[in-house]
Amino acid sequence: MQIIQEALAGTLESSDLFVRVSPSEGALELILNSEVQNQFGDQIKKVVEATLAKLGVSEGATVIIEDKGALDCVIEARVEAALLRAAGDKSVDWESMS
């Protein structure tokens, strides 16, 4: 999946996260900022990376996450939504979402 535009998902409220995806040149860049970085930073990163891999985003994007202590399922949903928005409609791989 190719990232063609900047997109947002989520909020900054407690138990949610704010995801900002933008196109970039070169390698995939993931920046994670979490209220619970020390305890769950690695786990959050794992969920985000798995979601990126699922949607086939491996380069050409910057993903910035402000996490306010969201659960894994919320993280996945927000990241997925942001990526789909950032890819526009045409390149969405709907099968991977089932």
């Binding site: 947002l8 909020t11 900054l12 704010f18 920046i31 900022n33």
Partner: protein, 342 residues
């Protein structure tokens, strides 16, 4: 929502009732209402306005939350709402000015510090990689030498004064970086200003022409510059722009000297030049000092060549006089495109 908060975007210019409430809320929070702000995100509780955040062209301003709700989650929702509003208008990177003691509020909302003028103001942006990526792109154009100069010009329009300044600066340096202010808020469009600069400097071998950016003499870093014709010089805030240059841009390019022309006419530019000596040269732990070189303006018929003077002549329709102050390509463009627009 259980807290009964309702969020709504209002345009104060067309909604006097909402505007009055915003003015009152800001006043209770010790803030002045800025009438240039196009949009406010407002939060209401039981019909009463309890929080607001203004948004104008990529900059968040006039953020107020009534006393009783401070420290609650309302701030995070407010900032989320403003971010979506900005996004819907095509603004991805947002800036916010705040008093340094309030910076923590925004640091908790996904903002990151850029520069601080101690005791006065702090500028933050809502991405941890904005300035970093910009500097990384500049660093690719870095030239290693002892004396690296920099000129930042609006060139509105490009005059013989700019040409003189740039040629003199290039002559006295190993390499010169020239930036053209990118903000499209001047009489001459950015495209035209940049193209003229490109044309006029193409034969200078030790010069790199750069596009300007939002980190340099932009609405975000130096709002007063673009309102100078509207008599807002007194509020001119130059420190933020100059500190950004010193802390990020100059180190990325290895700039050691910044060149400016003396300013005979425009108060804003004159203040900027004077402030430059202070904010760029004053010893500081933040970044190395940059030497400011002020070159005497070149003159024609006894009058210092300046873009603001050219604009006055243009407004008066005095084309013969303009010819003395600008190079041929600028004159051609004025006649072709701008002579009838006044």
């Amino acid at each position: 929502m259980s807290d009964g908060l309702e969020f709504l975007t209002v345009e104060p210019a067309s909604d006097p009732a909402a505007r009055k409430e915003i003015v009152d809320l800001l006043a209770r929070c010790g803030l002045d209402y800025e009438k240039h702000i196009e949009f406010f995100v407002t939060a209401r509780q039981e019909g009463k306005l309890v929080a607001c955040a203004g948004f104008e062209k990529g900059i968040i301003k006039d953020v107020a939350i009534c006393q009783t709700l401070r420290g609650s989650s309302i701030s995070l929702r407010l900032v989320s709402e403003v971010t979506y509003l900005a996004h819907s208008q095509g603004y991805q990177i947002l800036f916010v000015y705040t008093e340094p003691h309030n910076a923590d509020f925004f640091l908790g909302c996904g903002f990151y510090p850029l520069v601080e003028v101690p005791g006065q103001t702090a500028l933050l942006e809502n991405t941890p990689v904005g300035i970093k990526n910009y500097c990384a792109s500049l660093a690719k154009l870095r030239i290693e030498a002892d004396k690296i100069g920099c000129v930042v010009a609006n060139a509105n329009p490009f005059t013989l004064g700019h040409l003189y300044l740039i040629e003199e600066a290039a002559r006295s340096c190993d390499w010169l970086h020239l930036f053209i202010v990118k903000e499209d808020a001047s009489l001459f469009s950015y495209h035209d200003r940049f193209q003229l600069a490109k044309e006029m400097t193409k034969d200078i071998a030790n010069l790199t022409l750069h596009e300007g950016s939002k980190y340099m003499v932009s609405r975000a870093t130096f709002p007063a510059y673009f309102f100078k014709d509207k008599g807002m010089v007194g509020q001119c805030r130059t420190a933020v722009d100059l500190l950004l240059f010193r802390k990020y841009i100059a180190p990325a390019l290895g700039v050691t000297h910044r060149f400016v022309g003396t300013e005979p006419f425009c108060d804003t530019t004159r203040k900027y030049n004077n402030d430059m000596k202070f904010w760029l040269q004053e010893p500081s732990a933040v970044a190395h000092p940059i030497e400011v070189v002020e070159l005497e303006r070149t003159k024609r018929s006894g009058i210092a060549v300046s873009a603001s003077h050219v604009r006055h002549l243009l407004a008066a329709g005095n084309f013969e006089k303009i010819k003395e102050f600008v190079p041929q390509p600028t004159f051609d463009l004025i006649m072709k495109k701008y002579a009838n627009s006044i």
